[in-house]
Symmetry: D2
Subunit: 343 residues, 4 copies
Amino acid sequence: MVIVLSPGADQDAIDEIVQVVEDAGGEAFISKGVSRTIIGVVGNAGVLEALEAKDLTQHSGVHEVFRITTPYKLVSKENHSHTSTVMVGDVPIGPSTVTLIAGPCAVETPEQTLEGARLAVTAGGTILRGGAFKPRTSPYAFQGLGVEGLRILQEVGREVGMPVVTEVVDAADVDVVAQHADMLQIGTRNMQNFALLQAAGSVGKPVLLKRGLTSTYDEWFMAAEYIAQRGNLNIVLCERGIRTFEPSVRNTLDVTAVPVVHDMTHLPVIVDPSHAAGRRDLVVPLARAGLAAGADGLIVDVHARPEEALCDGPQALFGDSLTELSKVMATFPALLGRSQNQR
Amino acid sequence: MVIVLSPGADQDAIDEIVQVVEDAGGEAFISKGVSRTIIGVVGNAGVLEALEAKDLTQHSGVHEVFRITTPYKLVSKENHSHTSTVMVGDVPIGPSTVTLIAGPCAVETPEQTLEGARLAVTAGGTILRGGAFKPRTSPYAFQGLGVEGLRILQEVGREVGMPVVTEVVDAADVDVVAQHADMLQIGTRNMQNFALLQAAGSVGKPVLLKRGLTSTYDEWFMAAEYIAQRGNLNIVLCERGIRTFEPSVRNTLDVTAVPVVHDMTHLPVIVDPSHAAGRRDLVVPLARAGLAAGADGLIVDVHARPEEALCDGPQALFGDSLTELSKVMATFPALLGRSQNQR
Amino acid sequence: MVIVLSPGADQDAIDEIVQVVEDAGGEAFISKGVSRTIIGVVGNAGVLEALEAKDLTQHSGVHEVFRITTPYKLVSKENHSHTSTVMVGDVPIGPSTVTLIAGPCAVETPEQTLEGARLAVTAGGTILRGGAFKPRTSPYAFQGLGVEGLRILQEVGREVGMPVVTEVVDAADVDVVAQHADMLQIGTRNMQNFALLQAAGSVGKPVLLKRGLTSTYDEWFMAAEYIAQRGNLNIVLCERGIRTFEPSVRNTLDVTAVPVVHDMTHLPVIVDPSHAAGRRDLVVPLARAGLAAGADGLIVDVHARPEEALCDGPQALFGDSLTELSKVMATFPALLGRSQNQR
Amino acid sequence: MVIVLSPGADQDAIDEIVQVVEDAGGEAFISKGVSRTIIGVVGNAGVLEALEAKDLTQHSGVHEVFRITTPYKLVSKENHSHTSTVMVGDVPIGPSTVTLIAGPCAVETPEQTLEGARLAVTAGGTILRGGAFKPRTSPYAFQGLGVEGLRILQEVGREVGMPVVTEVVDAADVDVVAQHADMLQIGTRNMQNFALLQAAGSVGKPVLLKRGLTSTYDEWFMAAEYIAQRGNLNIVLCERGIRTFEPSVRNTLDVTAVPVVHDMTHLPVIVDPSHAAGRRDLVVPLARAGLAAGADGLIVDVHARPEEALCDGPQALFGDSLTELSKVMATFPALLGRSQNQR
């Protein structure tokens, strides 16, 4: 921690701050300059947290306080230098593979879900996705089938032999979702629903944590820390597009997030080009860009008849666009020193 | 609804769309231009919603679809031309008054809460705020006293004779919060926690709905619609600063939101200058700006000893800054054709 | 300046940095902590600039470098503790008054400009605005009358007895604009057109510097510094709305900028609610909010027949909205401890 | 063009609008619905532009006006269905190749520039970049060598046999820059410096047009239209990162821009990962992502001794990072159905 004093801070102000630092168990190193004095603070993690909790800018003479250590611990790369591999059922997501999660945006019927699963397989998918609880901006939009949707997804997963991932939107639903799914997804709108994060961290299943639409990297990693704190380090991060000023596309896929995640945390990271783009014609270019940036996998929407989809039809892959994705899955992993997951 | 066809769309494409519109019970009006054809669709609300749920851009020849009606109904100004007045206990929030909600960011102890309530009163406050469940970015930060905090807040409210508002962060806590508080607050991070919105809408207490950090106006009004759908129209909106590119202040208070809310909905709107600014010296200028823009009230943090506050001390008003706020409350309402709430 | 070393930096790395600091004429103070070492650097402005120009993060062992002093000097409040008053002709813009600049967005004809000037006067305006060189997003939109427009504006200004301000968009035009205008405006799109800033700073007329649509406060103050460096401190800053994610209004007026400008610089700051909102019905509420936040003045568009305006008609005030503005000008200054400029 | 009337608009209001449309030479098609009337307007380009210039929302009864045709013509894909190839000297930038532009951020000395050119060649570069006029946020930062820098760059280009591209920042400098360079670069801060765009469009050399830091796609294409209007269609667009809320990286590379450019215009588009990231370790992942998204080339900074660079040293490639880039240039083009430019 570094405390920068105001230009006019006198010796009394300096002494007062030094006292606060020492009372908290830290050591203060003073650098007196021509126009300013800087106080470097050292101490163990507990000392620094205690000092950060206090608002030192309240003291007269303090201009600014910089925190230097990262605020997250369990997910930080500092103590785990290699990217972790998270197992979803028997499918790995990690640094040596490229994993494709695919399926319908929403589970609508057993038939539509099975069709979606088969499309997923043809594209190279090894994990099945499908929404049973759908968070929708409008209360008048289709909200998902709920528990009935979970059952359909689980049965279809068994039939095609794929583990399944599905979203949970309320802490109260975590148990029932965990009974039916191999991985829990926390969506972009709930990234800072801390009760949900803690419940998901306690239930023993891997978690797919989507980045909030306007969350900074640090906020995202802190959300993962909430899960990790409950003893669950099986967390996969998912970049799904951020909100920017551009009105003509739904969101802006932030591929820079991929190398930043690998630099700052030991968690794997995948990319969701479907929800970022919101338009089928952009999905495959963005999928390629995400893998090229170093993502450990992809999650995409597929649908056999998108014009009838109850949710996000315009972004669902099928036909030619799906064939194009399967070519990407067949060629990109090797180019990036990885292997494609096989079924 | 307006459907714009692609430049090359032929008669078959036109006929296909007309068929879809008519099958849904709507009427299609065709405008053939030099380079494009436009189809105007008319019909009742049910017809239009059915057509919007379908993804018409899936049809060959369709370039773009514009929705024309607003997606929210119950909170819209279309059917309620005057701003509503919401009663919190016996305190009105609405178009003829300026209401000040004030109190400590977090309930820490009975003494600190009572001190905060007394500061609130001296500034002209008529509703007491205080957090018992605190959503914090870091799992290592103070998370609030929970139910014990609710009890303290309720007792202090009774002692000073003020109704109380406090945040609820999980649908499972709505009942217990409603037992202790006169108004439920839904915070910025939970604005699209739909399970929470629905639970809050069902419990019979007025709701203070903060705008999401990066929610558009439409998303905010749709979140209010979730509450309204459960039969509760006692909703007060709260603008609390949005996330922008500017790094030197915490958030950017969007005062434009105030006249926009009054133009589009019948709900009252208040402004939270404390959380927007994050810095005490900016709170009063922003409070003045919010009222001048037409806000129906303010919500601010106060603390008798901010340097000891467990949460957001740097933004809490006290001493001179509080005196300045009380002057604003004494002079601005009359200038804006309103009266200040009296205790 | 503070240099934070990486967790694993050894004594050699520390010695290397100390050497670089001392070679530049600075002093290095070392704080060795449990997990990190921090080096505080002190020295005069020249030393710090020299060190900032070097990229110290290139050195092995350096994790991060914080700059502590503000990068602007001439416009900073550090050496001028009171807000300056800038004279435009005989009209002051500064801390004891509220100045209204008003007029048509674009100069179209002598008649329309004179009508606009008279509307400006009725609203309490004391400086006349009008565009002769118009920067337009589309090359197919009206680009302004150029030098002919300057002549019209100057003549109308003389007729009504108001100094005039107009935009200059190219360094090559600075001289001719300065011959006809009492104040030069630099628009939002040119805030970082450094050749234009320098030319405007050299010509001896006061400058109205609009904030870039997405410029940070620091970038804005640095742009002012470019003008000041040429010997011209007669600079008035103008907040005119920033670009955010909200699609339903043109820009978001950032009223927080007003107290921040007054805190960080000695320059006066005014607010442009017309270009921020882009909609007439929002202009007066935003004008009030800007003044309430502490602005030293306003700049607004007026037009006698907005439906015929060649530029930005939808935001031009006239009729009732203008009357409303004149009431604001008559009542707000006193409330804020200022006087309204009188003609 | 579609004109949406307010719910209460009566027949007089409809007749008034129809009259305005017909006076402008257009045809009006009326769709009367239960709650609203929609007027579809058709006519040739001139008619529509004339109507767009008028502000139809001024008329009573008009709620909203939608423009349907794209506002840019010459750069639009509507009339040129294939991506153009732009020749820079004898080097093509277009759909069948991947072109690498590389060199030092700023021309500092003949030796440093030659070293930079040689590094560029080893990485697969076929066009040399180097800044002589540098737009810098601070007036105290290195501003470039000006004309002397142009001479150095031209000579080094001849020596290594590469055409050169360099930035021009003022309309007055366009001629001298065009005498020394094979391609003119317009930087992000000048994307809406319309005088500069027009001058660059008139001088007969290809133009590299960087996207403004917060420009929408439409604004970017309109800026290109300014150049094209002067008869110059040899324009290459360059995505270089946009400003978002994320504080920990300099900018956010928007790879979605690449397929959008190809969808909406016939211009080639390249990506600048160096200025987007501002950090060397992110440059190669972002370069890969840009190519994978479909970019027609890259522009990157290189420097033999980045710790001594006068500008943007931290992002310059050298050593291992440059080797990594050369591998990308050797493997990615084939994967994407293109060939790498050869010298």
